[in-house]
């Protein structure tokens, strides 16, 4: 026992920690840099880069670290690269860690909900902006436990540097054991030192997780994570804000009653917008995924201030059409013009890069609302609206926050500005998503089945918000929906899609109450049961 204490406090062993930590730090830092490069190569659009990264991974993940250490130490000098022992060990460890770290990074990035990426693109974010503001912050949070693991494993792997004469703990322990024959006291002592080091890593990991925890309420709570009974109550804590909420409808007193607009007013409005300028013009749009044709020559013109409802069975091409109008998807042939500007090609007719397409989206001004809301889940409601304004449109924080406040108030959610999306109901999330889409003042708002993912009792609060945008604000909108009654109330015109083309379109009430095309009639009669259009007033 006294020998054990003697070796535990022996400066010779304690100083060995420095070498252990130095090799580990070099390995992790180098591995992180190399891992970032590898992950970027694997995720890149260019197949050659991905293949190179794959090849590297196969080699360095598939050979033992001890061989890589000896290689870095003894073989590299043959080509004139003579690193110090620590340098060689750090290099080998970095080269070995890189594929593992790259896989962690890749999993983290791929783990971020694709809908959020789509939403970011729709808001005009460039790929690098998306990575920095949306993907990385979420991916990093999910990667911390894995990174903690990797750190502990690198720390232990650093002991292999003993074979290339790095004076780290293991080497010092074996040398000491050889000269003193106190085998067990020495190895228990160095084992305990390793244990202390790895425990430190775990503590740091917990602190970082805690610091990045989006649900953390108060700074005082920081230490409570170490108390086991505090953790149990996280679920309760999450449930609280939801429970405190008044039912959504009570928040929207002014919205509960649909604004009565007479049929004749509606018809007048429809006639009026027909004289307006063209906002969106789609001609001969074709697109197919492999053998399956999704859009088969769509022509659609939407004028400023007009509300057009896209109807049709699932798979008829409604969503694809909307995504093409925002250039979230490419098309095979045909043309899309928004505000007179032709999308998707530079002035010299070449295809645009993803970055150029993002800038095009931001400047053309097409807002988009998704069926699954696609809010940025690491940002509060306010930041979901204000963030893109700052990042894409260069507003100051003050201006962006003011704009976000106004819009959240407009959708009846100013009291929930600081809530995270996961603490909002589906209807509230969709209202935030609408506020976010409206924030840059788009010239056209595209809504892709905005109520389809909602519980029935939440549908109305969202429809009310959309109705007001149409009626009060005169916003130009294209809505794909299954809500026939809503389409009848709000839309100037409906277009019925089937098999990738528009088979019938015209004034909303006329088409809905008296469809000419048999497919339209069939579809309407199926929806009829609970969503019949109201009869002419």
């Amino acid at each position: 026992m006294s020998l054990f204490v003697h070796y535990l406090s022996l400066p010779y062993l304690i100083e060995g920690i420095w070498f252990t930590v130095a090799v580990t730090a070099l390995g992790l830092a180098g591995g992180l840099i190399l891992g970032l490069v590898l992950a970027a190569m694997q995720l890149s659009r260019f197949a050659v880069l991905a293949a190179l990264a794959r090849g590297y991974t196969v080699i360095f993940r598939g050979t033992p670290l001890i061989l890589q250490m000896v290689f870095a130490y003894d073989a590299l000098p043959q080509i004139g690269l003579k690193l110090s022992a620590i340098g060689a060990a750090g290099l080998a460890l970095a080269a070995n860690e890189a594929p593992f770290i790259a896989e962690m990074l890749r999993a983290g990035v791929l783990g971020v909900d694709g809908g959020q990426v789509l939403a970011g693109q729709a808001l005009g974010m460039t790929p690098s902006l998306l990575m920095r503001r949306i993907i990385a912050p979420q991916a990093i949070r999910t990667m911390i436990p894995a990174f903690g693991n990797e750190t502990v494993s690198a720390l232990k792997n650093s002991s292999l540097a003993s074979v290339i004469s790095v004076q780290e703990l293991t080497l010092r322990s074996t040398q000491l054991a050889s000269s003193t024959f106190d085998f067990f006291s020495i190895f228990f002592a160095s084992g305990l030192i390793y244990l202390v080091l790895t425990s430190l890593v775990s503590v740091i990991q917990l602190f970082v997780e805690r610091a990045l925890d989006l649900d953390r309420v108060t700074p005082q709570g920081r230490l409570s994570i170490f108390l086991p009974w505090r953790r149990v109550d996280l679920q309760t804590k999450l449930a609280e804000p939801a429970a405190l909420l008044p039912p959504p409808h009570s928040l929207l007193p002014e919205m509960t009653a649909p604004r009565p607009t007479s049929r004749s007013d509606r018809a007048k409005h429809a006639a009026m917008v027909q004289r307006n300028n063209v906002a969106v013009e789609v001609t001969g749009l074709r697109k197919s995924y492999g053998a399956q044709t999704v859009l088969n020559g769509v022509d659609l013109t939407v004028r400023v201030g007009e509300v057009v409802a896209l109807l049709g069975p699932s798979g008829s091409g409604k969503s694809t059409l909307l995504r093409c109008i925002n250039h979230l998807e490419n098309w095979d042939s045909g043309m899309v013009r928004v505000g007179g500007r032709r999308l998707g090609h530079s002035d010299d007719g070449r295809k645009l890069s993803p970055r150029a397409i993002a800038n095009e989206r931001a400047s053309v001004g097409v807002g988009m609302v998704f069926q699954q809301f696609n809010l940025f889940s690491h940002l509060t409601a306010r930041e979901n609206v204000a963030g893109p304004l700052r990042w894409v449109h260069g507003l100051t924080r003050t201006d962006a926050d003011r704009r976000a406040r106004e819009l959240l108030e407009r959708v009846g959610l100013s009291h929930r500005a600081d809530a995270l999306p996961r603490h909002l109901s589906g209807g509230q999330q969709q209202r935030v998503a609408i506020a976010r889409a409206l924030a840059p003042n788009p010239s056209v708002l595209l809504l892709d089945e905005p109520t389809s993912a909602l519980d029935p009792e939440l549908v109305n609060e969202v429809l009310e918000v959309i109705r007001r945008l149409a009626v009060d604000d005169g916003l130009t909108m294209i809505i794909s929906t299954h809500q026939i009654r809503f389409a009848d109330e709000v839309a100037d015109r409906v277009a019925f899609l089937s098999g990738g083309s528009i088979i019938e379109q015209g004034p909303a009430h006329e088409i809905l109450s008296n469809p000419q095309h048999p497919a339209t009639a069939r579809f309407l009669s199926v929806m009829e049961a609970d969503k019949a259009p109201e009869s002419t007033s």
Binding site: L13, V70, Y73, A75, S178
Partner: protein, 304 residues
């Protein structure tokens, strides 16, 4: 492997006597020789001439790769673990002093000694390594010591092992990777077969301490290594280990230098001759309680 050293090819009780004798001798020699050596006045004339002949090594700091797991030859100093001590360390420094260079140490596994030298990570290897034809393909050797091995067994020698012979059939031998004893034990297989006995098995470790632990833990029956190392192990665990016998091994211990530096090889050889002439070599054997019979005039082993 290695080392081997020294000493005594005799049985254990005679080792004690020789130890006593060595101690007396050491006291005497230390008084007469060690003092002048450390005053760097040893063999002044010869060394001064060498420094004139080989000025390129003067004032240099060279790297000596060692496998510091052999107390008596090279191991860290238990009293100050930042230092390496032992016969080889002192001999290397005496040679360095003669040629005017100093040494730093790079601890590597035994099997990595020559690789480290060949890759240029070290300039010289003085680590109780046996000069064999096979190894001489990787480095040139200047031999300086005869080899005597001891056979380490558990107390009472339960397997009745009497050397590297058919008494080892069926036994488990612990050895260090890369040591010359490994092929010697392997060569027993056909003999054992002829006798109708099982072959000996080999357990390969990467340092002395692990080999000794293998016997203490009952995993191995024997460990054949430099007799001095074996004696040290017995001294540390007198209740559990004993030396069955000492045997002669047909090798010499050598200093390894890179094959592409004949100047350096010749300078080291010349310096070693001066060190021996001055009596330093024998004084160091006494200082580290090694058998004076180990002493050997240097030769060069170099194969193309």
């Amino acid at each position: 492997m290695h080392r081997q050293s020294s000493t005594e090819a005799r049985a254990r009780h005679s080792a004690v006597i020789s130890g006593l004798r060595s101690a007396a001798l050491a006291t005497f020699l230390l008084a007469t020789i060690w003092a002048p050596t450390s005053a760097s006045a040893a063999a002044p004339a010869g060394c001064a001439a060498l420094q004139t002949k080989y000025p390129q090594f003067k004032g240099k700091q060279l790297v000596n790769a060692i496998n510091p797991h052999t107390p008596g030859y090279e191991a860290i100093d238990p009293k100050d673990p930042n230092k390496y001590v032992g016969f080889d360390i002192d001999l290397g420094e005496a040679i360095g002093e003669c040629l005017g260079f100093t040494l730093t140490y790079k601890p590597v596994t035994f099997a990595a000694l020559l690789t480290t030298l060949a890759s240029g990570q070290a300039d010289i290897v003085i680590s109780d390594i046996y000069a064999t034809e096979e190894r001489a393909k990787a480095a040139d050797f200047i031999t300086y010591s005869k080899v005597f091995d001891g056979v380490l067994v558990a107390k009472g020698n339960p397997k009745k092992i009497t050397g590297i012979n058919i008494s080892m059939c069926g036994a488990a031998a612990a050895e260090n990777t890369g040591y010359v004893e490994v092929p010697l034990v392997q060569a027993l297989a056909p003999e054992c077969k002829k006798e109708g006995k099982p072959e000996p098995t080999l357990q390969l470790y990467d340092n002395n301490a692990n080999c000794i632990q293998a016997i203490l833990a009952g995993r191995a029956d024997t460990y054949v290594n430099d007799v001095n190392t074996v004696d040290q192990a017995v001294k540390a665990n007198p209740d559990k280990l004993e030396k069955a016998i000492a045997v002669t091994i047909p090798y010499s211990v050598g200093i390894a230098v890179p094959k592409d530096k004949p100047d350096f090889r010749d300078a080291v050889m010349a310096a070693l001759i001066e060190v021996q002439k001055a009596g330093t070599h024998k004084a160091l054997l006494a200082k580290w309680e090694l058998d004076p019979n180990n002493f050997k005039e240097p030769d060069i082993l170099s194969v193309k």
